[in-house]
Structure formats: structure tokens, C-alpha cells
């Protein structure tokens, strides 16, 4: 049977187990995930497998997804908020071939969402699982190169040095300039890297009803934020945590409450800001919202 036929007939690829990984590997992953959920924010080591994708392209997230996916799941894959970028498309296609599950671009319809670098704008609900792809799980890595030492620091909650980094931000730039991968304390105990999501998304982790799982393939670590867990960003009393703001709202849907990408339009300095979450932007446009640049196009179409 060729791959193409498989795709059409709905059977998964011959010779491969459901969701690519063998059952023993999935069992090992699930044990690591259970431990991670039991100790929020704690990095659980696991035996990372080689995936048909290079390290750094989401192998950790894919292994976590493969371990938790079931045949009735509805999968959504996003990359920088978009459903149609290379990484998202290839990972979604991989899981369709390997599991034949239904896929969606709708945040509300998905039961399982694998993400790279964003949390969807539409609030998640109970029963949903959000899987993050993590490049470097250790928040103390650039401050302390020794793994033995960082583990000790986690064990003894010695997190003062993380504030040294934020101090340095303010000293050099006048404000906390860390814009992504913002350090947070989970459940009042473990310091955690929330993968390279913009700090705009950091507050969404707090008390989220969905289960959030983090997988780092190259670094061989899994960690988790269970539903309704407190996630607190680090800050100073006189320099509180703040999220980014934009001078404009989305040029297509007019949203003023979403994370915006800046798009350069020509070499004369014109630019537009547009929602990074394509599903959110699309849903708003369907509902009739318009932005600065969408109105004239619609008018043209009507003529």
C-alpha cells in the first residue's frame, strides 16, 4: 500500500504502531508525564527517542503528543500561532498518517493542541491538553552551566540568581526586557521556563483549566502545569511584571487584545500589525469584525 492510499482509506501506515512510538516507549513517556503532573514545574528526565524530524523542530512535543493521543482526539497544531506554517503542517500531517485522528484549526474544537511559541488567544477549557515544544527546559541554564548544580538549586529552591538576571535587565534597559521564555514559579515551588512563548502569553498559564505539558526532546525532559495551578512570573516590587502592548490593533480583524505580529509591507517603512493567532483572527473576521486594512478590500470585493 502506498502512503497516498493510506491517507485516503483512513488506515494508518502499515508497519507502524499507532502514533509512531511503540507501546513500551509510550508507557515510559506516560509515567514521566504522570510524575510531571504530580510535581508541577519539576523537570522529569525521560528516554527521548529519535523522531523523523531533527532536534529543535519539536521532537519533545511530538513525543508527548504521541504518548497522550487517542483515536478519538481532535488535533490542532500551531507554530507561532499559525496553523498553516511549515512546522505546524508537517507535524499535523505526521500525526494524521500515524493515527488517522481528526484535525482542526479551531481552538474550541480541539482536544489536543501541540504548539510552538504561542498559547491560543481563545481561552482553553477543561479537558483540553496543550503540548508545548521546548528547546531548553532549564531556566537556570545560562546562569549556571553545571547540570548537577542547577538540580541542587532546584532541590533547595535557590532561585535568587534568576532575579539577578532581571536586575541586570533593568540596569541595562530601564525595564525588564526579557520578552519571551519569561521565568515563572509554578505552584509556589519550582522555577520554570514556559518555553519560548512571548511574555504576553505568560499570564494565560496561571490557573488555566487545561492540562499543559512541556516536552524537550534534545534535553530529554518533560514537565507539566496541571489544570488550575498557580503560575507566577518573577518581578520586582518596584518593577512589576507587564505584558507587551502595541501602538495599533490588528489590521485585519481589529482585535486590540491579541498578540500582534509586525509585518513590513514595502521598503518605504509601511507596516501592518496582524494577529499571530490565525484561528482567532479568522473567527473574528467571520463574525464581522474589521480592521484598518480589511475594510477597503471588502468594499472592492462587493463592487
Amino acid at each position: 500500500m502506498s502512503v497516498q492510499q493510506n491517507y485516503r482509506t483512513g488506515a494508518t501506515l502499515a508497519g507502524y504502531n499507532f502514533a509512531f512510538l511503540d507501546e513500551q516507549t509510550k508507557r515510559m513517556l506516560r509515567r514521566a508525564i504522570l510524575k510531571a503532573v504530580a510535581i508541577p514545574g519539576y523537570q522529569v528526565p525521560f528516554g527521548s527517542r529519535e523522531m523523523p524530524l531533527p532536534y529543535g523542530w519539536g521532537t519533545g512535543g511530538m513525543q508527548v503528543t504521541a504518548a497522550v493521543i487517542g483515536s478519538k482526539d481532535v488535533l490542532k497544531v500551531i507554530d507561532q500561532g499559525a496553523d498553516d506554517t511549515t512546522n505546524a503542517v508537517s507535524i499535523r500531517r505526521f500525526f494524521v498518517r500515524m493515527t488517522n485522528v481528526a484535525t482542526t484549526e479551531k481552538t474550541r474544537a480541539a482536544t489536543l493542541i501541540q504548539t510552538r511559541h504561542r498559547v491560543p488567544e481563545i481561552p482553553l477549557s477543561e479537558g483540553q491538553i496543550l503540548v508545548y515544544q521546548v528547546p531548553i527546559p532549564e531556566p537556570l541554564r545560562w546562569l549556571e552551566p553545571r547540570e548537577t548544580e542547577t538540580r541542587k538549586m532546584h532541590a533547595l529552591s535557590e532561585y535568587g540568581v534568576m532575579h539577578v538576571k532581571l536586575y541586570e535587565d533593568i540596569a541595562q534597559h530601564g525595564h525588564i526586557s526579557t520578552a519571551y521564555d519569561y521565568p515563572v514559579v509554578v505552584n509556589g515551588r519550582y522555577l520554570m521556563r514556559c518555553s519560548p512563548i512571548p511574555k504576553f502569553d505568560t499570564p494565560k498559564l496561571n490557573m488555566n483549566p487545561a492540562l499543559q505539558l512541556f516536552g524537550a526532546g534534545r534535553e530529554k525532559r518533560i514537565y507539566a502545569v496541571p489544570p488550575y495551578t498557580e503560575v507566577k512570573p518573577l518581578d520586582f516590587e518596584d518593577h512589576p511584571f507587564e505584558v507587551e502592548r502595541w501602538p495599533e490593533s490588528c489590521a485585519l480583524c481589529g482585535a486590540g487584545d491579541s498578540f500582534l505580529d509586525e509585518v513590513i509591507l514595502d521598503d518605504k517603512g509601511s507596516r501592518m500589525f496582524v494577529c499571530s493567532d490565525t484561528d482567532y483572527c479568522g473567527e473574528r473576521r467571520e463574525a464581522g469584525h474589521t480592521g484598518r486594512m480589511s475594510a477597503p478590500y471588502k468594499a472592492e470585493a462587493a463592487e
Binding site: 539577578v164 536586575y167 541586570e168 540596569a171 518596584d238 518593577h239
Partner: protein, 261 residues
Amino acid sequence: MTNLDQTPLLSVEALNKSFGRQAACRDVSFELWPGEVLGIVGESGSGKSTLLNAIAGRLSVDSGKVLYRTGGNDIIDLAAASEAQRRHLMRTEWGFVQQHARDGLRMTFSAGANIGERLMALGQKHYGSLRDTALDWLQAVEIAPDRIDDLPRTFSGGMQQRLQIARNLVTRPRIVLMDEPTGGLDVSVQARLLDLIRRLVQEHNVACIVVTHDLGVARLLAHRLMVMRRGQVVEAGLTDQLLDDPQHAYTQLLVSSVLSV
């Protein structure tokens, strides 16, 4: 010296440490009183630095006790204390000044961040007050306040060493251990640093253990001296007494071998 209490701040009892067959410290015992500066002198390889590292808990000891009287007047044996307790003490009530400033500093963070680190580790989370403290300490160690946001690598060797001292003293430790604090600095910088250490030690009433091979440094800084050779303490006593009237043959050799100009 003031404030001498009835019990010593630190008492080391029969400390032994060996590396394989090589005994680095043999039956070392001594006491350190509040506000006192104890010098440890001896040739290289005599076990001075090993002793210092063992006291600081950086090395595990083979046998013996390191009894420390904490700020809350509890006596704890550091050789048997939990790592968590030891590390906490090292960040608060103890300081360690390394011979090479770059071992004791965070070279990629500014001077202000280096001074503030211990305070932040203790939970201080007000940027403004951290900065004020850093400015005060820069002044105390004679570094221009406008260097607060500069990286230590832009500092001279002497400045780096002074920054390291400020970084340690910021939590007002009760004991500071110094491993060759003036090593590798030229003579005029050494003299200035020695003056500074003397002044700070007096002002803040900290007890110090200073390891050095330089008898001149020992003479200037230390109230009391211990002479080590092959892991053993061969002679101990008041600095002036010991240097002016050495009793042990090795101390005599050490004193007579100092070059005078």
C-alpha cells in the same frame, strides 16, 4: 578587638582530610573568636587552602568537627550539617573571598548585580533599594559609583578584588574566609587592598581567616597566626610574637627567608 564572648565563633576540632595517601590536613584544631583575624601561613602545598575549603564545606572532611556558633547562638557542626543548611549559611553568615576575583564574581553581570545577588537570594525584591545598597557598598570599597552598571571584566584586578569583598560583605557576614586575597596584585594595589580589608574588618566586626603565603600580609592583617607544614599546624600564636620570636625550626626558616629591601 571588642565583643569577645565566652564561646568561640568557630572551633575546629581534630580535622583530618586526605586525598588518597596524601594527607592534606592532619589533626588541625583551632578556635576563632568574634572580630578576630586569624592568618594561616605556610609554603605552597602545606594544606592551607584545603583547610579553608574544608571549613567552608566545599570539601568533605574525613574526620573531625567544625563547630560554628550561629547568629541565633546555636552550635552546629558544619562537617555533619545538611547541605541545605550549609549553603544557606555560606550565603548569609559566611563569606568567601577567592584568590582570583573571577572565580568569586559573576563576570557577565554588572557590578551592581554582583553586589545585590546575595540580597536577592535572601528574597529582597525591591530594585530601588537593591541599587541603593549597591551604591553604598561601591563607595565603601572605593569604587566610583558611576561604575555600577559596568561589567567586572572592565575593572582592574584590584577593583575586581574589592568588588568581590563588597559582594561578600553585603549580608554582614560574621565570618569571612579569604584565600590569598592579595595574590597576583602589584605591591601598591596590595597595600591599598590591605588597608581596605583592615578597615572593613574593624568597622563590621567580622571574624576572618586569611590564608596567605606572604608574611607581610599576615603581619598587617592578622591578630593571630597559624603556621602549617605538610598538613599539620607546627606553631600558632599572636602574630607579632610569632614573627618576632619564632620557636619552631620551620617558622624560623620561613621568617628568615623573607626578602627585605
